[in-house]
Amino acid sequence: MNFDMGAYSVYIWPAYGISALALAGITLWTLAAWRRAKARLAALEKRPSQT
Amino acid sequence: MSPFAILLTRDIRLAARSGGSAALALSFFALVATLVPLGVGADLKLLARVAGGILWVAAVLAALLSLDRLFQGDFEDGSLDLIALSPLPLELTALAKITAHWLSTGLPLTLLSPVLAVLFNLPGPATLILFFSLLIGTPAVSAVGAIGASLTLSLKRGGLILPLIILPLLAPAVIFGAGAVSLALDSLGAQNALGLLAAFSFAAVLLSPFAAAASVRLNLGG
């Protein structure tokens, strides 16, 4: 693999960097929301409904 | 008078009464036309170049001013429910409101535009094209605007969302309208641009009553 982008490095790496950050970020957000929802539902299902 | 005509004259009269929506739109239009040279400089050649775009954008924004009240007033006092129950199909109601809106904003703006074109040093032939582009294109602004107005009629602060929703949809009108003026300025034929604008307006006025009626129904029915 060739990582030497020469003169264009200053454009290519930020583009890849921002893409990677944004995609990783939204993936983490998605997974965190999923885990939160799962945990909340599990907690509610364990507890018998209180009146 | 037909139900359509009754609704039309009623809406025009309401528009004229409530703060004179035509006067408001015209003042806004003229103000923007005044501010831009202040912001951009008095280079007359530059102003002539940007006149089409600036005046078109200003006209769209001015027409936007009264759009959020298009259905909201009738919705709030319950008359929209009654209107929906009347024998006039809701689509024709929407068309009547679109027409009333155009007559009280788009048309006056079009009539004022040659005067403002003078401020921008726009030559005669280009001014004529500007006039016709606004005449043909402002009905589309009212039509597409009605879709946004009907979607947001139940919102208290819906006024902020309305421009966000409809401005992207109006990009073609601005492009063809201002483009026509630009072509006229270069003494190239503007017929194609005006033709495309006319097609866009025609489609907008024909189709938007359906979308607006559907939106009104969903807001009334719940």
Binding site: M1, A7, W34 | L164, P172, I175
Partner: protein, 237 residues
């Protein structure tokens, strides 16, 4: 159509998506990995030099940007015409991802533009169309948030999405027409040399799989949130 309605039931959707997700997730990672490896192994383009590597993250982002809006439009149609119960949830869930990929397309396009055309922003037809698409996404999400009653919000958003999707070809056409008016030639050429085609296609597939995976997880999350809300409301007198 019946196939779609079999999975209209949230339970069925959870079952199906739960089975499919591991595969799409793994496939995503594989495609992105292979795509990136290939993308960095290609020779520089004789015209664009090494900036051709931006092709591999710019075009896939654009593809997903349009795909997501198409998905929202289809879900909106299913919601309004056939009243498919999950369609509203699916449509709303897709929007943030669509908006993000659109923004990424704009950013990568802009960074590609600077070495190619000298400025960070060029009002060419593609970039301008995608800028307008970003606003369409923002308006769609704003409408969902603004209307308080969820059922009404869903239908209003569906109408807006359908109006938007009808407008998109018109907007693209008008922006194309406009760009030839002011600049003559459209700037980005459509041809891709074969050696770049494979990394591009694999990255496109990877991006699409990523979107589908995240979208499914999001829909599942909303289903669970709704169940939790129902339990809470059942528990209180």
């Amino acid at each position: 159509m019946n196939f779609l309605f079999r999975y209209a039931n949230p339970h069925e959707f959870m079952r199906l998506s739960g089975a499919v997700l591991p595969f799409t997730a793994v496939a995503t990672v594989l495609c992105l990995g292979v795509g990136l490896y290939l993308g960095f192994s290609v020779p520089p383009d004789y015209q664009q030099g090494t900036t051709v590597t931006l092709l591999f993250i710019h075009v896939p982002a654009d593809v997903v940007a349009e795909l997501a809006y198409g998905a929202i439009a289809v879900c909106s149609l299913l919601s309004l015409v056939w009243r498919h119960p999950l369609a509203d949830t699916a449509a709303r869930a897709a929007a943030p991802y669509g908006a993000l990929f659109t923004a990424l397309g704009l950013i990568t396009g802009s960074l590609w533009g600077k070495p190619m055309w000298g400025t960070y922003w060029v009002w060419d037809a593609r970039l301008t169309s995608f800028l307008l698409l970003l606003f369409l996404y923002l308006g769609y999400m704003a409408l969902w948030n603004a209307v308080e009653d969820e059922a009404r919000a869903a239908r209003a958003a569906a109408i807006l999405a359908l109006v938007g999707v009808v407008n998109i070809p018109i907007i693209k056409f008008s922006v194309d027409w406009w760009s030839t008016l002011h600049q003559g030639e459209s700037i980005v050429s459509g041809k891709v040399a074969p050696v770049y085609l494979w990394p591009l296609l694999i990255m496109m597939l990877g991006y699409v799989l990523l979107f589908l995976t995240l979208w499914m997880v999001r829909i599942r999350t909303v289903i669970l949130e709704r169940r939790a809300r129902n339990l809470m409301q059942a528990g209180t007198p």
